[in-house]
Symmetry: C2
Subunit: 543 residues, 2 copies
Amino acid sequence: MSGARNLSNALRRARVPRPRIVVRPALLQSPATTAIRTFTVSSTARADRQIKYTSDAYPNVKRDPNFGELTADDVAFFKELLGSQSAVVDGVTTDATDDIEPFNSDWMRKYRGHTRLVLKPQSTEEVSKVLKYCNDRKLAVVPQGGNTGLVGGSVPVFDEIVINTSRMNQIRSFDEASGVLVADAGVILEVADQYLAERNHLFPLDLGAKGSCHIGGNVATNAGGLRLLRYGSLHGNVLGLEAVLPDGTIVDSLSTLRKNNTGYDLKQLFIGAEGTIGLITKVAIICPPRPKAVNVAYFGLESFEQVQRAYREAKGQLSEILSAFELMDGRSQRLVHESTGNKYPLEGEYPFYCLVETSGSNAEHDMEKLESFLEHVLGEGIVADGVLAQDETQFQAIWRWREGITEALSHLGGTYKYDVSIPLSELYQLVEDCKQRLTEKGFVGDDDSFPVRAVVGYGHMGDSNLHLNVAVRQYNKEVEKAIEPWVYEWIQKRQGSISAEHGLGIAKREFIGYSQNETMVKLMKQLKALYDPNGIMNPYKYI
Amino acid sequence: MSGARNLSNALRRARVPRPRIVVRPALLQSPATTAIRTFTVSSTARADRQIKYTSDAYPNVKRDPNFGELTADDVAFFKELLGSQSAVVDGVTTDATDDIEPFNSDWMRKYRGHTRLVLKPQSTEEVSKVLKYCNDRKLAVVPQGGNTGLVGGSVPVFDEIVINTSRMNQIRSFDEASGVLVADAGVILEVADQYLAERNHLFPLDLGAKGSCHIGGNVATNAGGLRLLRYGSLHGNVLGLEAVLPDGTIVDSLSTLRKNNTGYDLKQLFIGAEGTIGLITKVAIICPPRPKAVNVAYFGLESFEQVQRAYREAKGQLSEILSAFELMDGRSQRLVHESTGNKYPLEGEYPFYCLVETSGSNAEHDMEKLESFLEHVLGEGIVADGVLAQDETQFQAIWRWREGITEALSHLGGTYKYDVSIPLSELYQLVEDCKQRLTEKGFVGDDDSFPVRAVVGYGHMGDSNLHLNVAVRQYNKEVEKAIEPWVYEWIQKRQGSISAEHGLGIAKREFIGYSQNETMVKLMKQLKALYDPNGIMNPYKYI
């Protein structure tokens, strides 16, 4: 087949029936993903539904009566301060509902606030003045980047002012010798990565929302993504931060040094704090050289045991060039197939699929390692079938079977999303158990009378990070009650995390006790009180 | 030559005069380093000198009058609490000077305290009770691990109680699927690494003092070491910690999950806090698979410009298998030669030397990459001469030329050590400028009338981390005044760090302002006050 790399030589050496590994034309029919992938949900099936207000969905959450109420004077102050017309979306003194709505609700159409004011400062000094004013007036605020979060952390609940970072979007510097990039919080992740690509470097974070999310938001939520396995977490890669505290204090910890042991590493507190103690304005991050060779393979496997074996083999054999090991269950791939209309990469269907990516500096060496790995996992019967991308189009097409899951799910109505860490051996058991539970309760079915369409599992196998998704025809409190807190108890028993990478937001706030003990929660509250005594930063969320 | 890998084929392809690259017999004459390297200084030239008390060397530092004074009742309490005889070294009610002295002073013989009590708790609960008691009685304490620090951070200044972690030395668990090790703070780094070696994994930190230092101390000081370039910092690799706050609160943040976004990442505050807000009792750390192939090469180079070029080439060509790139100047290698009596690895002397290490999963691929790199840097004249280790003995011998510098220096009298981060292009300029300054002042010379023997530079090129060492015949205030604060001003101008990896301790405490602005220092003090309101944890140090 044209373009298909012939693995027969490698397989001939294995004394086992030779399994089939080919690249199917189907892959070539899939459109390559566009340069900037976005999370915009365009399903017409959704336009007829209003998003429920978070304040209605969470009736126990009450507006803090200590917070000030926005006045025309406040708006006048902000307009004067920020100058530019485009910097203030004013729903206080004008009717700007349509302009404000995108800032009030999330892309999943699950959370919706009542804000009447959106501010888009363009500099750290402006952020400082905005926050100082808000703190003095006790006006609550919500920092917002690309608004691609999954736990309602970046949209208001009541009338909190949205401080959006989209106008702070400059790349400040890049040093090729050290690989250190300094950029504003509002730079879009993919823009940063493309800038780095032109300089033979790579942003050490990649995720489905890269076309929309801001790097400030990535840091604020300690985003994990697709290649944490290879490049490590933001706690290791972020070298410096600039942030503004609620009282307007500018925290300049924007070091570009790989090593700097001069005092407490305070910037770490902002990484993953979801904008509850300050607003991140600039990021310094160390970026690795862009790999010269990247390969991706896609496997079908008969059981989760085989997935675990395949992962162990990949870790051992691909070692330093392994850059992603993603798990997708059969149901998730069927959803992508139904949503995109693309033919499956493999003939026949399997209960499990894996995506294995390698990134290295020598294409020949990498291919040799990968072929030897493939020979082994096919020869041993660990993997039932597989394809190996031969060009950029196929590469993108294969990744689309992983990255397209979120979008495919978004077309179905609503999704209850659980993003959890569990010991590897039990990773998929949660999906089975959840499915069984919801089926027993009579919630799951193919026709529209059942609230649940599908229970789906996928995630970052290499990080022991599962995404359990329950796709519903519409958000349904009965279904939610059947899942929660059952799912959190299940995770707690295994000492897992109820939020591996998505964070807490409003969705998981009340469940923090399942992953953190009382002492930790007490210490967190103490810290919140220290930095934000008026509680104005992203209230009703996190802790 | 027997054992020497012939690079002539590779070099034949380069159309340049073929430089010489051989493995010299000298390497084979060097004794292989023993499994456990220690920092013990055995020079007889030193035994006749008493170490000066830190309280005399720093007359401005006064004992905090709010601290309690140890009584026989206190000692009785601790003896009762800790049970075992070996857990309490009592210099309060008995004369135990000789037993206490090793805990009172550091291995550099530069810092010396007046403690009369050393406690060695064996469990977290014991640490908790000790600290609670001390906090209630306002008795100051110094957490101490292997006492291998370089800034006087782990020894008392006055009569602070030493809490030594050596009896908390159990490895708690290791999970092969995830690579996560959980161990007590007092486990010696090399013991942990050997335990992991038997399980085909590697501790993601390595440093000269590995035979003595404790992993709790490594984390408390955010140790960097030899392979940070490859495996990243402890802020990324430490997944969980258990620590005890001054009031006895046990902070159980001992997560073994790679991803856990449930609240502020408080454990990060203890990493690099040098025991000033709490005492680390357990560590959970992610460990990479042990590389199957490790190679090391040693180069002579004619200038620092060539060193920079060699580093750029190594980064580009060796990429994912590059695990160390160390810089040593000619003077540092001469000191090792004089101290060990070993023959130089290369014929002739060079102003600069580099050690390049690769670690990978495929010996053949790694050697091919390394040979192609060597061919290039030799062919282009970037490197003047080089050797490549062919076996474990040679591997250890080459590393000894880098790791032996500290010990070689320790035989000379005293050393003023500066551990700094500077932009790569100016990394070595600091050594030149310092040498010129001290020479102009008439301090540098070969005979005993000059206080300064040598100004030496070496370090972790890959991390932009230089160790500037001024070897003196004895510690000398005039020399110190000529270096400080000049050296800190030099670094500040280049926005470097006055302490890249050694920390602040007492040595750098008053200079923190050269690397941190006023706001940062204020925030740090605020945090110290929050966690340690009585200031009993490692006082007189850090901030």
